[in-house]
């Protein structure tokens, strides 16, 4: 597949990296020469310097033979224009990043055939939706849904007071089936066996049917406490989208914003949310607004360092869960070790979302976890897959570091056990550590 990526920012770079690694031909168009050079040095891609909507660049990249165009520059209009022109040149699929809510929230615009955008992606909205999932299940560090929401996979941190600490997994009984897909212990991804024991500080990936998850959590020693109040620092676009999503869910939502004029704008757009004018790092303000009783604090200011600081501060003042927006993804692993519960990076989320759309086929990655240390794949079993079809799971020689997490068969979701038999037509979800991804692919040929 020949892919053109316009804009070599964080998102563009990320997508170029993944696609090029997967063996696709990637052309990156970047207007900044220096940035272009960096891309060229680090990735096995072709770099063109210039304007991604110009006839000159189109000719250079041989637009007629491009299969996919991803426009992720800083400029919405340029992204949309590139897609529109590319479509007219016969490009099959186009993706545009559009951030301005005036465009991004316009459902008609995304569908307008004249614009020719197949996927219109709004990073802020994607991030807000991700945060929303985490607020709904406050004890989880990560929430993923599969099979149209029927299956849920949570990442849960084992606290010292968990009464299951020290128990072997085979001794933990749930009222319905569940699977501990993986344990992250000291940054190592472990696919557990029955005699592995839970330890304090473990992060568990638990797969179960969404409806049963709450009772499963209880058998694992976790208690789901519904969030009642959310405080959002920074009334940026993510903050606004998040508040919009939260409105009507019965939670008390507050937004703290520094700029008074922006406060007024938000107040005009939101109905139930309490808009507070002030600085998020102001301890008096946080205490005055009851940070102690706040279930979830979400730090979404433009400044990574401020988000980090305020989240730590809020945690110390007694806030329940803290979620911080961190734009520089190299900070992310560090952040979760210092006590902030979840770091969210809109750019990585955008890259993930675009990759999920782009990669279609029998074998597709549907979630990237732990900053790429683990991945979730979905595979449709075809009769040709002789190594798999009509075999019991325990007979299949799965590479170490991977596991079948769920099976979807005729509209039903199954948590698999060793004696379950795979059948043609099944859609299976596989959890795998990053280093075994290639080996897994071999199973399906």
């Amino acid at each position: 597949m020949r892919t053109a990526i316009i804009g070599a920012g964080k998102v563009g770079y990320n997508i170029a990296q993944v696609l090029s690694k997967e063996g696709h031909d990637v052309i990156v168009i970047e207007h900044d020469e220096d940035r272009g050079k960096i891309v060229e040095e680090n990735l096995d891609v072709q770099v063109l310097v210039g304007n991604g909507a110009s006839a000159k660049i189109f000719a250079q990249m041989d637009i007629e033979h491009i299969d996919l165009l991803v426009a992720v520059t800083e400029f919405d209009e340029l992204n949309m224009l590139s897609c529109m022109l590319a479509k007219q040149h016969g490009v099959m699929r186009t993706v545009a990043r559009v951030r301005d809510p005036d465009y991004a929230d316009d459902v008609q615009l995304a569908k307008n055939p004249l614009l020719g955008i197949d996927l219109l992606i709004n990073p802020e909205k994607v991030a807000a939706k991700e945060i929303m999932k985490l607020i709904k299940i406050p004890e989880a560090l990560n929430v993923n849904y599969f099979a149209g929401g029927m299956m849920q996979m949570l990442e849960l941190m084992v606290q010292p007071d968990n009464k299951m600490v020290g128990k072997a997994l085979k001794d933990i009984r749930g009222r319905s089936r569940f699977l501990i897909v993986a344990i992250i212990r000291r940054e190592q991804v472990i696919i557990p066996r029955g005699d592995d024991k839970l330890k304090t500080g473990d992060r568990l990936f638990v797969m179960a049917e969404t409806d049963n998850m709450k009772t499963i959590e209880r058998s694992l020693g976790f208690e789901r406490e519904m969030a009642h109040s959310v405080m959002i620092l920074g009334g940026s676009r993510i903050g606004f989208y998040l508040a919009t999503l939260l409105e009507g869910s019965g939670l008390e939502v507050k937004i703290v914003e520094k700029d008074y004029a922006h406060c007024r704008k938000l107040a005009a757009l939101l109905d139930e949310t309490i808009i507070l004018h002030g600085d998020g790092s102001d301890v008096d303000l946080l205490q005055e607004e009851g940070i102690k009783d706040t279930d979830v604090l979400v730090a979404l200011t433009e400044d990574d360092k401020l988000n980090l600081l305020v989240s730590l501060l809020a945690k110390r003042l007694g806030a329940g869960k803290t979620i911080a927006q961190i734009r520089r993804s190299d900070y992310v692993p560090l952040i979760e070790t210092v006590g902030i519960d979840v770091a969210v990076s809109p750019r990585s989320l955008t890259a993930e979302a675009i990759l999920q759309f782009v990669r279609k086929g029998n074998f597709l990655s549907i979630a990237i976890l732990e900053q790429g240390h683990a991945e979730v794949y979905e595979v449709v079993i075809t009769p040709q897959m002789s190594k798999l079809v009509n075999k019991e799971i325990k007979q299949i020689n799965f590479p170490k570091g991977s596991i079948i997490a769920a099976i979807f068969r005729q509209g039903r979701a199954i948590i698999p056990g060793g004696q379950d038999i795979l059948m043609a037509g099944d859609r299976i979800t596989i959890f795998a550590a990053a280093h075994v991804a290639n080996k897994i692919e071999g199973l399906f040929h």
Binding site: K254, L266, A267, A268, I274, I275, G278, L285, E288
Partner: protein, 489 residues
């Protein structure tokens, strides 16, 4: 203030007023009434004076906001003075105070009357009486804006000064087009109601008069016992629906027609609340009355709904003497007098819009005591309301209540009992018409002292023009003109 411009504009208004008198003239001629001679004198007199004013003070000056207020207030006063002449000259109301009261009550769509026996009046005069209401309903001057598109930008100034409610909306890019559209909806509603009433057995003359008085939410009837005279359930339900419709913002009607969707009535917050208030008040009254009445449930509901809609839209038609109702029902009626219909309608009172704004802001103020740094923006129908408008509405509320109290004191000092005085003031200021007690639905204002009649008439004007337009004229700065000032020194 540009005196020349104002005088010439007033002249134009009078020409239109003079022309409108040709309609009752024609009716008098058709019914072969001697009254025709009165209109034959008054119509040319009004038009002639108007033409003289217009001709002598013709100017190219552009209208400024200040002038808009002056044109509207003086325009209404002059219209009421000249409009009173037919009553005076025909001998129906020999005293000027009475004739002025009746005309003001007409133009402001109040509907209180000083005439004890309406049924003996000649038909031409009855029609003139209904016509004053109809002209005043949407606004004499809005009609003028609609007819004379040459006003250009300044049209909006007048439009704002005369339209009801805290925010004047333009439904079309041009003020004159907006005015035209409003008038078209208004005329259509009137015609439809006339036909429906006639189909239900009213004679054409009564049907026209009652339609004029319903769509303007005025409430003048051609019968002494108002709509109760006909004792016809269908007529009452038709009237309820048309009163209800005319209490809704005309720009909502415009949207409903344009988008061809009745759902807009319920999607618009103010209209929704207006309908909820009506439903709630009706239920209150029905429950309260059921214990005492011997009538069936259906009749009680019709009776309560009629009176609730009649009072909240400030129409003032009567089918049942609410002065005889039980206490809760009576209190509900008084409460409704203060609510009024929706902004941009022909109804009077404080308007549901203002109540919605005040309640919304009250909620925000309460929240702010909990969260001192909270920033709030009030929204009505999803549009943010500027702080300026909120303050304006709060001050309006204050002035409304203040004027009510002071006027009640004044009327009481004329020797009228407190209850009658208070409700009459509320009914005049709210343009409702019939009050309770001495000025109740079965009584008239005939026995009120002369001074009280002038005060009531003034209150009607204050209520119709929503206080500010009239009060601003009283400010000394209003008449202060920098240009003239410089010439003196």
């Amino acid at each position: 203030m540009q005196k020349k411009l104002i005088l010439s504009t007033l002249g134009k208004i009078m020409i239109i007023l003079g022309l409108s008198m040709l309609i009752p003239l024609a009716v008098s001629v058709i019914y072969r009434e001697s009254l025709a001679f009165v209109f034959l004198v008054v119509a040319p007199l009004t038009g002639g004076v108007g033409f003289l004013l217009y001709y002598c003070f013709k100017t190219e000056d552009r209208m400024r906001p200040k002038d808009g207020f002056a044109v509207v207030t003086y325009g209404w006063l002059i219209a009421s003075v000249f409009g009173a002449l037919p009553y005076l000259f025909s001998g129906a109301l020999p005293h000027f105070a009475d004739a002025f009261f009746e005309t003001m009550s007409g133009f402001t769509t109040t509907g209180s009357s000083v005439i004890d026996n309406i049924e003996i009046l000649p038909k031409g005069l009855l029609l003139w009486r209904s016509l004053t209401q109809w002209l005043g309903g949407v606004g004499i001057i809005v009609l003028f804006v609609a007819l004379l598109s040459t006003l250009g930008v300044s049209g909006m100034q007048i439009f704002k000064a005369e339209m009801t409610g805290p925010i004047a909306e333009k439904i079309r890019p041009r003020a004159s087009d907006s005015a035209k559209n409003i008038w078209l909806i208004y005329i259509a509603l009137t015609l439809i109601q006339t036909i429906l009433l006639a189909l239900c057995g009213m004679d054409w003359f009564d049907a026209v008069n009652h339609a004029l008085a319903t769509t303007s939410t005025g409430g003048f009837s051609t019968k002494n016992s108002s709509l109760g005279y006909f004792d016809n359930a269908l007529i009452e339900w038709i009237t309820i629906i048309f009163m209800l419709l005319c209490g809704v913002n005309f720009s909502v009607h415009y949207q409903v027609l344009k988008q061809k969707s009745l759902a807009i009535f319920f999607k618009t917050k103010v209209t929704r609340i207006y309908l909820i208030i009506i439903a709630a008040a009706t239920i209150f009254i029905v429950v309260d009355m059921l214990s005492e009445t011997t009538n069936g449930l259906g009749e009680t509901i019709r009776c309560a709904a009629f009176q609730v809609v009649s009072v909240i839209t400030s129409t003032g038609f009567i089918t049942d003497d609410y002065d005889q109702w039980p206490h809760l029902a009576m209190a509900t009626i008084i409460f409704l007098m203060f609510i009024g219909g929706c902004a941009g309608s022909t109804s009077g009172g404080m308007k549901v819009d203002r109540w919605v704004i005040l309640f919304g802001q009250a909620r925000h103020e309460l929240q702010r005591t909990l969260h001192p740094r909270m920033v709030t923006r009030l929204k009505v129908n999803d549009l943010p309301i500027s702080d300026h408008v909120i303050i304006n509405v709060a001050i309006f509320f204050f002035l409304y209540i203040f004027i009510c109290i002071i006027s009640t004191l004044f009327i009481a000092s004329c020797g009228i009992d407190f209850f009658s005085a208070f409700t009459a003031v509320a009914a005049s200021l709210g343009n409702v018409g019939p009050a309770l007690g001495a000025f109740g639905p079965t009584e008239s204002f005939a026995q009120a002292p002369v001074l009280a009649k002038y005060l009531f008439a003034f209150l009607m004007l204050l209520g119709r023009l929503e206080i500010f337009t009239v009060l601003v004229i009283v400010l000394p700065q209003f008449h202060f003109n920098r240009h003239e000032h410089r010439q003196k020194h």
